[in-house]
Symmetry: D2
Subunit: 298 residues, 4 copies
């Protein structure tokens, strides 16, 4: 199967591990209830991270990775029991995911290849725990490159007039739960509110500035004009407000007066691909919880 080449190697699979993400109102006894539930079933907690915005009256977040032989086949039952015994009595929101199943990912891209190639290459070498199942582009340019990774490439042209039809086509290709994540790897079209409503899948975008500075178009040009001494990139979840969604990761690189806009663009590309790869990795490892318009990254 096409996508198998981009998934991580079997040696990195954790066949008997799962991840539990919890958020709820903070209060005494939450961790004890959760960990006792798991201990009673023979699970061994491998890693645990938690955060509370305020021990009194705040919001509580928890991520547990646990080892439990055969957990992959017993997820449905485990979720049901956890919901009944632990989550419902405390009004928790939770997910339990099989850590051995790589996330199914679709990538949207326009003409710049650096973020796309970096993700394809990292997936192939097993760095990112995901299976890239599709690349969608409004340009045909990168088809041959993607073909080398045995990943299907769909060219969906978008013009002002055809945007509704194009998005309908994209929804067919990527909607309906076929993917766990969509990554905008320098996709230069704005997705409509309607598309975002209907896709039902989290979307990560890479913006080529350290937001909130230089939101919108032409960030490197504006960085040059303003004379900043650092340029950066920001990976964030996509919401209806352009460049305003919850920030997952950011990084910057030092620049100086000698750098032209063209050089800023080239240097920035290195930051973009690194920042995006980290954000995608964290999402695929179930490390991110959204809290209002911020993220908790464990």
């Amino acid at each position: 199967m096409a996508t198998s080449t981009t998934a991580g190697t079997a040696g990195q699979r954790n066949h008997d591990t799962a991840r539990l993400l919890v958020s709820c109102a903070d209060g005494p006894g939450i961790v004890a209830a959760v960990t006792t539930f798991l201990a009673d079933r023979g699970a061994n907690i491998i890693t645990s991270d938690q955060y509370s915005t305020d021990p009194e009256g705040g919001r509580f977040f928890l991520r547990l990775e646990f080892h439990l032989p055969g957990v992959g086949d017993a997820l449905g039952e485990l979720r049901e029991a956890f919901d009944r015994e632990v989550a419902q009595p405390r009004g928790m929101r939770f997910h339990i995911n099989d850590a051995s199943r790589p996330k199914r990912v679709a990538i949207m891209v326009s003409r710049y290849d650096h973020c796309l190639l970096d993700l394809l290459w990292r997936a192939r070498r097993g760095e990112l725990d995901m299976a890239i199942g599709l690349v969608v582009s409004n340009w045909p340019d990168l088809a041959a490159e993607v073909d080398r990774f045995d990943v299907p490439y769909e060219h969906v042209p978008v013009t002002r007039d055809t945007k509704p039809q194009a998005e309908a086509h994209e929804l067919e290709l990527m909607g309906g739960g076929a993917f766990d994540l969509i990554v905008l790897a320098r996709y230069m079209q704005v997705l409509s509110a309607d598309f975002l409503d209907r896709i039902g899948t989290p979307i990560i975008n890479i913006h080529h500035s350290f937001l909130p500075a230089f939101a919108g178009a032409g960030p490197y040009e504006r960085a040059k004009e303003r004379g900043v001494k650092l340029i950066g990139a920001t990976a964030h979840y996509v919401t209806e407000d352009l460049d305003e969604g919850p920030i997952i990761e950011q990084d910057v690189i030092r620049v100086n007066h000698r750098h032209t806009v063209e050089e800023l663009t080239r240097m920035g590309a290195d930051i973009e691909r690194t920042v995006l790869a980290r954000a995608v990795q964290w999402h695929c490892e179930d490390r991110i919880l959204v809290h209002g318009n911020s993220t908790v990254v464990f």
Copy 2:
């Protein structure tokens, strides 16, 4: 009292919080046992960090910060119960510390003032949760500066011949459990194995290189000679092997061919004070567990 001026402000005290540090052989049920013990007593876990070198047969490390009204007065009882009910059955090593009591710290220094001043100043503004009770120096130079922070300054000269007597004097000044931590803030004398055996208090040193590069004397001179493009500093616990103890924190700064040894020394001083302050802060917040010759920093 002299040291009171350097402790954090009362507003930052957590009067009803304590910290539990645990290390033991990994296995199922540890977290459940610990958190159930705390939940049964009405404690609310504020933060929790854990790490296992290997879920099967590895070493397990845990740090919990919990809120429990009146915990400061009930520490003895709590420790005893925890020891009996949780720790002994599982062969755990543990500490429970009152988070509201600042660590008592002594600083040893020679003639460079940058690390010393930075610690005194951070303590005064309440950044570091510690009370600096004494500064010991083999030089008299910095006495006036320290006096301004209302901290006692002891001048203990050290020569090759008087080193045993000097160390005996230092043991009197700083030994016997009078301090929770000793910080070598660019103290240029090597402490003897005998002193280290007898002091019974953890000691943090700042070394002016990114260890293991340039261990020993003259690191900036040797960095210039080798033509490295980064210089750094390392904070580590002191052991009998000079510059070989468990590393707590490191950082670096970019340099180039134009920088003279004098400039490297100046630029490095900024890294030294920052790295040392972080290491001291983490120690004072009970964030560091030593594992062999490494540290786990939560």
Copy 3:
């Protein structure tokens, strides 16, 4: 004299060196003309930096540091000859400064001590080539601290009603060419356009965000709210447009969801003082040329 204690040590003085800064329309032969002028007088160029926005029709910037025995006493004559022989024929703007004379600096501050103390320490150590001659504050709080450095402290209270009189007093204290540089070391009052017009001295401000993000008030609060993963600081020349002047230096530090606004403020303080110290150092070493609303830093 009071300020002498904060100036660099004599050992670091370059008694026979001067610095030439040039900007002009780019074109062939500029460097040859300048360096031939200097060579003819027996000067040896120590360092040279140049930059052109565009070799054809762009703006050219040059900084030369040169060694010429006795140059300190011959500056007037040298400037006149350079103006006549080199600068006027090419429409150059230029400065020639005696590198052995530390810049005279006044600092304005409100109640936060971190930037002020860092500058005082660095000046005392001889790190910054300047003599701090005055500290002006709208609060009395830091008088004792400054007094320890033998620097005069002027308390000039500012209220909405008394602002014109206060600024008139500040102009008396710092105007008339008494200082080469004014540093706003977290001075929380906005200086009026009239003051800026009349002071006739460059002013460097430190803003506690990575501009253009979070210009204006409350940057750490807004950084927390937006959920950024980096916070920063920006040193810039002051212009009439608040937080819009030419940026000299910026830096950032990584933060995460766990950091409270109070912790962001504390971590940011370390970046603020470092960034400000670098900007002040570069200014004092005649390394900065303003180009439109940007800086060229050699």
Copy 4:
């Protein structure tokens, strides 16, 4: 031609620019002599960098990039005139290179693909001013990957017994001035002193540690063992002393106790490819002068 696809785009060529590199004993009048020589021929200096280890009795280094219509066709004549009029009288060593001619580069690699692919991508995008003409590997693994870039791939197996013959073959492939630079992109064989003597071409190696720490084999394993908080990579010119040649560039990334050796290896790979790309770029732009066992990078 095969290599044309990896060279930069024509739009980035500077057809009328050349670069002059000079090193000599420092003394008055050098810059004036050089720049007057160029000005007399109508050249316009675009960028100029210089450095002196000591204005009195030190070593002087200069890099000039200048614009001179038709310089590409007049290099021989220009070199001869410069040698006669400027260089010989002052005992200068110098190079004048045509900035419009990309460097011809051969890459040696074993089985890790990250550094190789990164260089191929960057060259294809026109980021690096070079034409990759050959990849030599002691393994056949990466042949298909390299073939996609239309670059020849030579598999030269090396065993203990066949090393002399293998190196003879490599000399045939890469010697005789066919290349301007050889890059060891994680080539795991040690090149013999004899090979280095005879190849007559500079060689850049990437080592997977921040030298001088962890020179030799297994740096990530040793980094884990020592518990360092930063790992890094170093690009350096190859000399007969393994991992001891002049350092061109270094960088580091923060790690912690949670990272396994496998993760250090993966994170380090990102640093390795970035550091190597910078070093290769600087070499291809004639920015590096070797000074003893250090580098001056302009």
